[in-house]
Symmetry: C2
Subunit: 108 residues, 2 copies
Amino acid sequence: MNIQFKKGVLEICVLSVLAHKDCYGYELVNEISKRIDISEGTIYPLLHRLKDEGHVTTYLQESAGGAPRKYYRLTESGRKEEHEQKEEWMQFCASVNALLEGKNHAAD
Amino acid sequence: MNIQFKKGVLEICVLSVLAHKDCYGYELVNEISKRIDISEGTIYPLLHRLKDEGHVTTYLQESAGGAPRKYYRLTESGRKEEHEQKEEWMQFCASVNALLEGKNHAAD
DNA sequence: CACAGTATCTTGCGTTGCAAGGTACTTACC
DNA sequence: GGTAAGTACCTTGCAACGCAAGATACTGTG
């Protein structure tokens, strides 16, 4: 899969999954991987960025086997961001598809 | 507009426009700018890359006012690439949209 | 004890788009 | 003639992002 396509999109993917339920990082990788190939080296820096920007908060929870899980929960600002980026993505998608279909004039 | 969304997509946009007609660089910027914000500093390196990879050939043509125009024409390999990247983009788009809609299971 | 599985994190690299700047030609205006 | 604006090309250095690779730590199994 074209790595470049993913740039910026993984962020809205993470926000969108978190909008449905709180997740820990490893879980997010598994969820998103069902649709889009993603690695751990990508998700953790992304989650830290989202936390720095105030879009998520975290809380620890013990796990049956293995290290304790760090859950991520969307904040109000995170929900707003999710909504805005979703709109932006759909608008972008429509623009690209119009271009690929040869409808090159904005006035169509 | 989110700059990151464009990564990799501008290449298929250029290939797609060139699949309809030969264009010169400045023209491509104008065509694509109707839908997606793009600058000259992006398009020229991209065109050189496409030429290096053998996806386009070039020919010069005089212009009424201003510098001579360098037209870009898709090669066979370029047409193949256009087709493949278009498929890939549409597949990617569908995956992302499924994720954003909460259909997180590949078996849906 | 060694290994696999779960779960987190960091470092350095490659790719790509962009702002900013430069070149060169033509037309229009003063 | 000089200056500006428009057309058209190009290059350099920067910033953002995803990834491979590796490190850490805990649990359960052989």
